[in-house]
Amino acid sequence: MKYLYILVIVAIAFSSCEKDDICDTNTPTTPRVIIDFYDATNPTVLKNVVNLKVIGDGLADEDDLGTFNSVSTIKLPLKTTLNSTKYRLILNSTSTTSINEDLLQFDYSREDIFVSRACGYKTIFKLNSPNGVTQTDPTLADGFWIQEYTIETTNIDNENETHIKIYF
């Protein structure tokens, strides 16, 4: 009888064994597209953008990803549920005269890769080749501010390297 009592206590002591792990933020998971900006007149030199407002196409103007200033690199999240993501890139967005909007569309295929118990899966992307990135202009009169772009790699599987270079 004494044993039965003890064993009940033991059973209770073990009844609460379950998970407590959280995905470490340093774990490489779903990557963003890394875009570096270069000077079109001097293509080896990085150039900082000025008031570059980035908005996911189809989203409201106030739901922008951010307005980038004095940086030469931006990181754009891609949709993990569709094979295409379009962004509005508005240069000099605070200016009334030199404001210029270009659209960049990314077309890709997706793959879900297992990471860990705590993180689950991540999505990695492979840009279509050719035509992984398409540039369009909503207001044709002002022309493109992006003079040229190059796809450095079609495999977007980490955030450690530049995927696309933009010259302006």
């Binding site: 033991v10 064994c17 779903t30 999240p77 949709k79 993990t80 549920t81 860990s116």
Partner: protein, 243 residues
């Protein structure tokens, strides 16, 4: 770590109770020729059995057995089957499979008179054959700008998986009455090898239990077993003198 402490605490609890009972037993001045019983013991893991009733995502059964080889040594084995569905924050999967563990136990407890209790340490080699079914998963996206946080239901079954491991066992077995024993054991497991599913992982292995980032795991069982005596053997005088 908190859970490991719980294991140790519970184990000590049982251990103390066994020792406690030993103190109560009355001593005799002279002991006639001492005979000890040898035989096989069969039992079942009550924890797995009871869990199958109260946990709807779990079905499991483990049959245990040991055979007394010498005064101190026992051949021991466990055979079991588990069907467990784990519902984590980011993953939901089902593991099904069968396992076998074989090894030995060494009884460190000096029984008084005709007591037949055990406080033992042991070693097991475990092998498991199982399948994993990934029921659903989530994509971890640290930058959900487009707001998607969907659970993707994409059932995928991975068959023909296997694992091998070693277990260090510490446990107690105490006679409740006649030939019926209650036992408790705690196990520390270390994976030797495993066959992992492609683009997934063995997050649970039948018999080994939950896997962690390293190769280690823990387990325990709480058994009730029946001893089937086969023969008796006289304890050698030399051994008695040592006491």
């Amino acid at each position: 770590m908190k859970h490991i402490l719980k294991y140790i605490f519970s184990f000590l609890f049982v251990l103390i109770s066994v020792l406690g009972q030993a103190q109560v037993t009355s001593k005799k001045d002279s002991i006639p020729v001492k005979k000890e019983r040898y035989g096989v013991r069969f039992g079942v893991d009550l924890f797995k059995l009871s869990r199958s009733f109260y946990e709807k995502d779990y079905r499991g059964l483990e049959v245990v057995g040991d055979y007394r080889l010498t005064r101190k040594h026992y051949f021991a084995a466990e055979i079991g089957n588990e069907n467990k569905t784990v519902d984590d924050d980011r993953l939901n999967f089902t593991t099904k499979g069968t396992y076998v563990k074989v090894g030995f136990d060494y009884n460190t407890y000096q029984n008084w008179l005709d007591m037949e209790n055990m406080i033992y340490v042991g070693l097991r080699y475990g092998v498991s054959s199982f399948s994993q079914t990934r029921n659903s998963y989530k994509i971890y996206n640290p930058n959900p700008y487009f707001g998607e946080e969907l659970t993707l239901i994409s059932e995928k079954k991975f068959n023909g998986l296997s694992a091998q491991w070693l277990e260090v066992v510490v446990g107690v077995k105490a006679k409740l009455f006649n030939n019926v024993y209650a036992g408790f054991s705690f196990r520390l497991n270390r994976l030797i090898s495993q066959k992992k599913p492609e683009n997934f992982d063995n997050l649970y292995i039948p018999g080994f239990n939950r896997t962690y980032n390293g190769d280690f795991g823990v387990g325990f069982n709480y058994t009730i077993s029946y001893f089937l005596p086969l023969y008796k053997s006289t304890v050698k005088v030399k051994e008695k003198k040592k006491k």
